[in-house]
């Protein structure tokens, strides 16, 4: 016989012995206070503004850094970071999630090829902004796509990020060889028709991508939290960056994209990103909802 819901509920209430604070707003823990102070210190000392990032993931990454740098607390990490710019650079690698992939979400690139490129072809010259480009995989993917569509020569790509180490890697265009099988598969799924190996030369454990892909690429330090628009663009792609921001900072970034984009310009986001909860939800219209590709209204 199954016990009734009432019996279970009673059993539960009898079993609760631990004292808990209930139905009160969650108070800031010491750790939460330390995290806020750390972000304030970083902003004042290094002008990087992480104060409006989504807290849960930021907290996990700082806690990892505290362990990795052998600190007893976030406060200790803060004291060290304030006095040691090199340590800040190391912490930045935790704060920025420098992970990427070529032709990540192949269907996104297929959609760019089929639905966005034909419109872009009608412009005599093009400007594209890859915001939060990390180590450059997205930039090289886009450059390959544009070359195959005959657009690369008349396109300027601005590839921006706040992490100088990532930007340096992006400029070099050298990616680990053990990732290439995945990238080649993604490339094919994205509608690529050539032999992927024609875009790189393999040496040791690395693939060095064709330098000429980057002839018209400008890699630059630019923060979506603190900097402003620098150019008019026809396409902005900003993938898997906005999820690390809170709503207010997402709105700031979307505002920059809206301002930068030309009339009916295109915006591409990460495959699970959404503008539905933003002030800008009515200022872009979905071109392909599933691929998160929008047009400026």
């Amino acid at each position: 016989m199954e016990p009734s819901a009432k019996v279970i509920a009673n059993r539960l209430n009898e079993s609760k012995v631990n004292e808990a604070r209930v139905n009160e707003p969650q108070r800031l823990s010491t750790l939460d206070i330390e995290l806020r102070l750390l972000m304030e210190a970083i902003y004042l000392r290094y002008s990087y503004d992480f104060r409006d990032y989504a807290g849960a993931s930021q907290k996990r990454r700082v806690v990892q850094a505290v362990r990795a740098f052998d600190c007893k607390s976030v406060s200790e990490l803060q004291a060290r970071v304030l006095h040691d710019p090199d340590l800040f650079m190391q912490l930045l690698q935790y704060l920025t999630i420098p992970v990427s992939e070529m032709f990540r979400d192949p269907s996104y690139y297929a959609c760019l090829r089929q639905e966005v490129i034909p419109v872009l072809k009608t412009y005599p010259s093009l400007k594209i902004w890859v915001a939060g480009c990390s180590t450059g995989e997205e930039v090289y993917s886009l450059a390959i796509l544009l070359r195959e569509e005959g657009l690369l020569d008349r396109t300027i790509i601005y590839a921006t990020d706040i992490n100088p180490q990532s930007l340096e890697k992006a400029r070099k265009g050298v990616f680990p060889l053990d990732r290439i099988a995945l990238y080649a598969k993604n490339y094919q799924e994205a509608g690529g028709q050539l032999d992927f190996s024609s875009y790189y030369t393999a040496a040791y454990n690395a693939a060095l991508f064709d330098r000429s892909l980057c002839d018209n690429v400008t890699f630059a330090d630019h923060s979506l939290s603190t900097d402003s628009v620098f150019s008019e663009t026809h396409l902005v792609t900003c993938r898997n960056v906005l999820i690390y921001f809170n709503r207010g900072l997402q709105d700031r970034a979307l505002g920059l994209f809206h301002e930068s984009l030309c009339h009916r310009g295109f915006l591409g986001l990460g495959s699970k990103e959404s503008i539905d909860f933003s002030d800008y939800s009515q200022r872009f219209e979905p071109l392909q909802k599933r691929e998160r590709i929008f047009r400026k209204l």
């Binding site: 199954e2 016990p3 009734s4 819901a5 009432k6 279970i8 509920a9 059993r11 539960l12 209430n13 079993s15 609760k16 012995v17 631990n18 004292e19 808990a20 604070r21 209930v22 139905n23 009160e24 969650q26 823990s29 939460d32 989504a54 807290g55 849960a56 993931s57 907290k59 996990r60 990454r61 999630i97 992970v99 979400d105 269907s107 898997n240 906005l242 999820i243 690390y244 809170n246 709503r247 997402q250 495959s271 699970k272 990103e273 959404s274 539905d276 909860f277 933003s278």
Partner: protein, 198 residues
């Protein structure tokens, strides 16, 4: 005021499961009404496929509204939310969802630990955590965090679980408030709903 968390104090339910989890979820959500007074937030490990059909599958069988959680969406009662494959799902203090692409935890992204630990920061003691069948230890630490914050912890009876590794991992870390069969968890959820209707 400090007193033990009781059923009427619960403001959200977080659930984790892996192998066998779809069937288990169906059982515990059976007959929950459309106007259920709490949000139910679920991380189920799935094969890493880009498009999960979980929400559609469950909506077909349940009266409760079912949807995929979305980044920066405010959490509302009466909805069963699923974490989407490929991204960790967290709950922010403001009780909105956030996604992230940090590396998998316990080979899993989304990870149950990440959902539960962030839920504790958002809901404190006003939380019920449920961990069920699965071949993975993900969730055991998260459920412990719920326990330590004073929330209510429920573990599926390992004797009944399709794969008992996940519930046993939870039991290795704590003695939960309740060890229940799926039918009993279902009854508990229904009664929890009744406690909120005044």
């Amino acid at each position: 005021m400090t007193r033990p968390t009781q059923l009427q104090d619960v403001a959200a339910i977080v659930v984790g499961a892996s192998a066998g989890g779809i069937h288990a979820m169906m059982q515990i959500c059976k007959d929950l009404p459309t106007n259920y007074p709490l949000p139910i937030i679920v991380t189920l490990h799935m094969q890493d496929m880009r498009d999960s059909r979980l929400a559609a599958l469950f909506q077909h069988h349940l009266r409760l509204r079912v949807k995929d959680a979305e980044d920066k969406e405010s959490i509302r009662p009466g909805i069963l939310y699923f974490a989407v494959p490929g991204y960790h799902l967290s709950i922010e203090r403001e009780r909105v969802f956030s996604f992230s692409c940090e590396p998998p935890l316990h080979f899993s992204r989304p990870s149950i630990d990440i959902l539960m630990e962030s839920a504790v920061d958002a809901y404190g003691a006003n939380l019920m955590g449920i961990l069920m069948t699965g071949a993975n230890q993900d969730g055991a630490a998260g459920l412990l965090a719920i326990k330590q914050a004073g929330g209510i912890c429920v573990v599926q009876d390992p004797a009944e679980a399709e794969i008992d590794y996940m519930p046993k991992s939870a039991l290795a870390l704590q003695t939960p408030d309740l060890i229940l069969t799926l039918a009993e968890i279902n009854a508990l959820l229904i009664s929890l709903g009744d406690h909120h209707v005044h």
